[in-house]
C-alpha cells in the first residue's frame, strides 16, 4: 500500500526553523516503520537524519515521536497505524535536536550517571559469586530491561515543566541499584533520591510507563521508591 510520511526536518547549520517534509513509500502492513524510513533515506532522500542500528528493539537508537507518541521506529509496524492516512515522525520532545530526528543524548546520559548506575561495595567480594536469592533477583527483573532509548523521558510531561527533574530513565537505573542486594550504598542512594529533583517531581502521569518499549512499570517503581524514602527517612520527603 502507499503510505505518506510527514517528517519534521531541521538542520541547525542551514535551517532557520524546523519544517515538515512529506514522502510517499510503498509499504507492506507487517513492515517496521524503520523499514519505511530506510527506504525513504536510501531511495529518495539521503539527507534525512535519524539513528538506528539493531532494528529489533535492543540497541535503543531509534526512539522518536510517531503520530505524537514516543516509540522505537523498529518496534512499530505499519499495521499498528492502520487507519492513519499519514504517519508523522518527530524527534523526541524535550531533547535538543542535532539534525532531523537525531537528538542530543549527552544530558540524558549525564542524568542517568548522576544516579551512580554501578555497584558500589566496599567489602571485598568472595572468591566465588555473591549469593542472591531468586526473590531478590526478581526485584530487578523489570528494571534491567532498560535500553536507554529515552522514550520515557521524552514522553514525560514533567520534563518540560521542570527541566531539572532527573527524569524517569534515570530513576529506573536508581531503582535497579537501590534494590540490588549486592550493593553497599542503600542509604546514600535513598538520600540521593530524596533530593528535590529526584523522585518527588513525578506527578503520576504514567506517560513513561505507557510508552516504554520494554514494558517496564516505571511509574510504579518511582512510587515504590517514594514510599521507601518515607519509610527510611520518616522526617523528610514531600507530602
Amino acid at each position: 500500500m502507499e503510505l505518506r510520511f510527514k517528517i519534521l526536518r531541521f538542520d541547525p547549520q542551514s535551517d532557520k526553523e524546523a519544517y515538515y517534509k512529506t514522502y510517499t513509500v510503498n509499504a507492506r502492513s507487517e513492515e517496521r516503520i524503520l523499514d519505511c524510513l530506510n527506504r525513504i533515506k536510501w531511495e529518495q532522500d539521503g539527507t534525512l537524519g535519524y539513528r538506528m542500528s539493531c532494528a529489533h528493539g535492543v540497541c535503543g537508537s531509534d526512539g522518536m515521536r510517531i503520530n505524537g507518541v514516543c516509540a522505537l521506529a523498529c518496534q512499530k509496524l505499519v499495521q499498528d497505524y492502520a487507519g492513519s492516512e499519514e504517519i508523522t515522525l518527530e524527534p523526541l520532545p524535550f531533547f535538543q535536536v542535532l539534525k532531523d530526528l537525531i537528538v542530543d543524548m549527552e544530558d540524558f546520559l549525564a542524568r542517568v550517571d548522576s544516579m551512580r548506575p554501578y555497584m558500589i561495595q566496599s567489602e571485598q567480594p568472595p572468591e566465588r559469586e555473591r549469593l542472591q536469592s531468586q526473590e531478590d533477583h526478581k526485584k530487578l527483573e523489570e528494571a534491567i530491561r532498560c535500553i536507554l532509548c529515552a522514550c520515557c523521558t521524552g514522553a514525560c510531561p514533567v520534563m518540560s515543566e521542570n527541566p531539572n527533574y532527573v527524569g524517569p530513565a534515570a530513576l529506573v537505573w536508581a531503582y535497579r541499584y537501590l534494590y540490588d542486594t549486592r550493593d553497599g550504598e542503600f542509604m546514600s542512594r535513598i538520600e540521593k533520591l530524596n533530593e528535590p529533583d529526584s523522585v518527588w517531581p513525578c506527578e503520576n502521569y504514567f506517560e513513561c510507563t505507557r510508552v516504554c518499549p520494554k514494558s517496564i512499570p516505571i511509574t510504579k517503581s518511582i512510587n515504590f521508591m517514594k514510599r521507601e524514602i518515607k519509610k527510611q527517612l520518616p522526617d523528610s520527603g514531600k507530602q
Binding site: D11, G60, H137
Partner: protein, 573 residues
C-alpha cells in the same frame, strides 16, 4: 586538530570496553564508537556466557575446552581454547562482582542452562554450563561495563567513525576519524590502536546483525596489507525469525524448545541422535536446509517451526522474555501457544584480523605489528575454529578483551611515540570529497542489496565451486560499481549517507575475502560446507587460511593449527 592518547580503542562493545577498563589507570585510554555508546551489537547477545562453574551439574574446564575444539571442527587453536575454558570461571565471577544481574539457583548461586554443543564428559550428554540474565545477557553485561568505563573516567568519542589507521615505520602512530556530528576529520595520535569493531553480518541479506555490523576494523587492516584469517567460516544461526532474520536465541532450545519440520517431526533426532536440538549451530542450520530441500518445510515454504509451546508461560517470562516479545511484536504470535516460523540467519563471523594469543595483530609471517591490536568478533585468535559454540562469544570478549588490555598496558613501556605521516588525513579527505562531489554516480543501496543477495545465494550454508566463482566475479563487478558511488547529502552534520557509502566499500572488500577463501578450501569443515567436497579432509586442510591484499591481487596462504590435547576425530553428536 590533532588529539593525543596513549591507547585508542575502536568500538565500545564488550571487547573494547573490557580492554579499555583494563588499561584505564595505567595509561591514557580513549574509546571510539561509530554508534552512540550503549548501542553496540554486543547488547544483542541473548543466551549467556559459558563457564564450568558446576553450580547445577558436575562440569570441568577440560570438557569445555574439548567442546570448543570439537565445536570448531578441530580448526580451533587448542592453546587458545585452553586459556578460554580455564579463565571463564574467573571472568564470570568478575562480572558478577561488578553487578551483572545473573539469574539464580534456589541456593542463590548463578543459574546455568543447556546450550548447543556444550557437553559433559567429552560429548556424552548436554551439560548446564551457561550463565545468563534471562535472554538479555549481552545487554546487561555491556551496560555494566559501560557504566564502569564512565565511572573510571575513560574518554569516549561517540559517533566517531574511524576511517584510517596510521602506521609509520611499521609501528602504530594513530588513526584518522570522522566526527558524524560535525563532518570534521580529525587525526588522533597514539602509541596503540586496538580494533574491537565487531562482525560484518550485513554482508548477507538475511542476518541477525545490526546495521552497524559492516566489518570496518577488518577493512582497515586488510587495506594495510595485513592478513585476515579463516574468512570462509561464516556462522548461520539456525533460528532467525522467518523473513526478518531477527535472532531467536539458542536458549529457547537450551530451555527445552524443539525444531519441527512440515510433518511435525522433531527432525534433529535423525541428525544428532545424542544431543538432538542442542547440536552445534552449523549442523542444525545444515539440517534445516536439508529438510527444506527434501520438501519438508512448512506448507512448502522455506521455513520450519520452533516449538516452545510445552515450556509454559512462567519459563517463557523468566528466561525467554525478550524473544517472546519479538515473536509477539513482529509475528503477532504467542510462543506459549503458537509455533514460531524460523530460518537460518547470518549471525557470527569466525574469521577476522589475524592476531596472536595476546591480541597483537600479526602479519603473514606471524610477526606482531607494534602497537596494533584486535579483539572480539573482528579478530581471529583462532578460538572458534570453523564454527563457534553459543555463549563462547561473550566469554571470548571479556577474556581476550582483558588479555589484550593487559598486554597493551605492559607493552607501553617499550612503545615509543612515532609521528603520524605529514598531512595524515589527506587521503581520507580525498576519499570523502570524491564521493561528495560525484554527481552522476550510483546510489549505494542497489549495490548493497545486490551484494547481500549474491552472498546469500552463493556463499551461505551450502557452497559449491560454480556458485563461488560466480559470486567472486559478481563481487568484483560490484567493487567496480562502488568506485562510482554518489550520495544525496552534501552537508556536514550527521551525513549517514556518506557513512553508508564508505561502509559498503568495506563490506565489498570483506565479501571478496570470504568468497576467495571459500573457493580455495576444497573440503567441508564446520560452517564451510562444500557440496562438491562434502568430507572433512584433515590430510590437506587442517590449516588456517590467511587472505591478504597484494599488488597482484588477493593472495591466499595457510598456517598450521595448534593441536595440544585433542586429536581430530570424526565429529558426531
Amino acid at each position: 586538530m590533532v588529539f593525543k592518547h596513549d591507547v585508542l580503542i575502536v568500538g565500545a562493545g564488550l571487547a573494547g570496553l573490557r580492554a579499555a577498563t583494563e588499561v584505564a589507570g595505567k595509561a591514557d585510554v580513549a574509546l571510539f564508537s561509530k554508534v552512540y555508546p550503549t548501542r553496540s551489537h554486543s547488547g544483542a547477545a541473548q543466551g549467556g556466557i559459558a563457564a564450568a562453574l558446576e553450580n547445577e551439574e558436575p562440569d570441568s574446564w577440560e570438557w569445555h575446552m574439548y567442546d570448543t575444539a570439537k565445536g570448531g571442527d578441530y580448526l580451533t587453536d587448542q592453546d587458545v581454547a585452553e586459556i578460554l575454558a580455564k579463565d571463564a570461571i574467573r571472568a564470570v565471577y568478575e562480572l558478577e562482582h561488578m553487578g551483572v544481574p545473573f539469574n539464580r539457583t534456589p541456593e542463590g548461586k548463578i543459574a546455568q542452562r543447556y546450550f548447543g554443543g556444550h557437553t559433559s564428559n567429552f560429548g556424552q550428554a548436554p551439560v548446564k554450563r551457561i550463565c545468563y540474565a534471562a535472554d538479555r545477557s549481552g545487554r546487561v553485561m555491556m551496560d555494566t561495563l559501560y557504566f564502569d568505563a564512565v565511572r573510571k573516567g575513560i574518554k569516549i568519542y561517540p559517533e566517531f567513525n574511524v576511517l584510517d589507521i596510521l602506521i609509520q615505520d611499521g609501528q602504530v602512530a594513530g588513526l584518522v576519524a570522522y566526527e558524524l556530528a560535525s563532518g570534521e576529520v580529525h587525526v588522533f595520535h597514539s602509541r596503540v590502536v586496538l580494533l574491537a569493531t565487531g562482525g560484518y553480518g550485513k554482508v548477507y541479506k538475511v542476518s541477525s546483525n545490526a546495521f552497524a555490523s559492516t566489518g570496518d576494523g577488518l577493512a582497515l587492516t586488510y587495506k594495510l596489507g595485513l592478513p585476515l584469517e579463516d574468512m570462509e567460516f561464516v556462522q548461520f544461526h539456525p533460528t532467525g525469525i522467518w523473513g526478518l532474520g531477527v535472532l531467536i536465541s539458542e536458549a529457547a532450545r537450551g530451555e527445552g524448545g524443539v525444531l519441527r519440520n512440515g510433518e511435525g517431526e522433531r527432525f534433529m533426532e535423525r541428525y544428532a541422535p545424542t544431543i538432538k536440538d542442542l547440536a552445534p549451530r552449523d549442523m542444525v542450520s545444515r539440517a534445516i536446509y536439508s529438510e527444506l530441500k527434501e520438501g519438508r518445510g512448512i506448507n512448502g515454504q522455506d521455513y520450519i517451526h520452533l516449538d516452545l509451546t510445552h515450556l509454559g508461560e512462567k519459563k517463557l517470562a523468566e528466561r525467554l522474555s525478550d524473544i517472546s516479545s519479538f515473536v509477539r511484536i513482529y509475528l503477532g504470535l504467542n510462543p506459549a501457544t503458537d509455533l514460531i516460523p524460523v530460518h537460518p540467519t547470518c549471525h557470527y563471523m569466525m574469521g577476522g584480523i589475524a592476531v596472536n594469543i595476546d591480541g597483537n595483530v600479526i602479519d603473514v609471517k606471524n610477526n606482531p605489528v607494534p602497537g596494533l591490536y584486535a579483539a572480539g568478533e573482528c579478530s581471529c585468535i583462532s578460538l572458534h575454529g570453523a564454527n563457534r559454540l553459543g555463549c563462547n562469544s561473550l566469554l571470548d570478549l571479556v577474556v581476550f578483551g582483558r588479555r589484550a588490555g593487559q598486554h597493551i598496558a605492559e607493552s607501553l613501556n617499550h612503545l615509543s611515540w612515532v609521528e603520524p605521516p605529514a598531512a595524515a588525513q589527506r587521503d581520507t579527505l580525498d576519499r570523502i570529497r570524491q564521493i561528495k562531489e560525484n554527481r552522476a554516480g550510483e546510489k549505494a543501496v542497489s549495490i548493497r542489496q545486490t551484494l547481500q543477495e549474491v552472498m546469500m545465494d552463493d556463499c551461505s550454508v551450502f557452497r559449491h565451486e560454480q556458485g563461488l566463482k560466480k559470486a567472486l566475479e559478481a563481487v568484483r563487478g560490484l567493487q567496480e560499481r562502488a568506485r562510482n558511488i554518489s550520495i544525496d547529502h552534501g552537508g556536514n552534520r550527521y551525513n549517514t549517507d556518506l557513512m553508508d557509502a564508505l561502509e559498503l566499500r568495506n563490506m565489498l572488500l570483506l565479501a571478496e575475502a570470504i568468497v576467495a577463501s571459500a573457493l580455495n578450501r576444497t573440503e567441508s569443515r564446520g560452517a564451510h560446507s562444500r557440496e562438491d567436497y562434502p568430507e572433512r579432509d584433515d590430510e590437506h586442510w587442517l590449516k588456517h587460511t590467511l587472505v591478504q591484499r597484494t599488488d597482484s591481487g588477493v593472495s591466499i596462504t595457510y598456517k598450521p593449527v595448534t593441536i595440544t590435547r585433542f586429536q581430530p576425530k570424526p565429529r558426531a553428536y
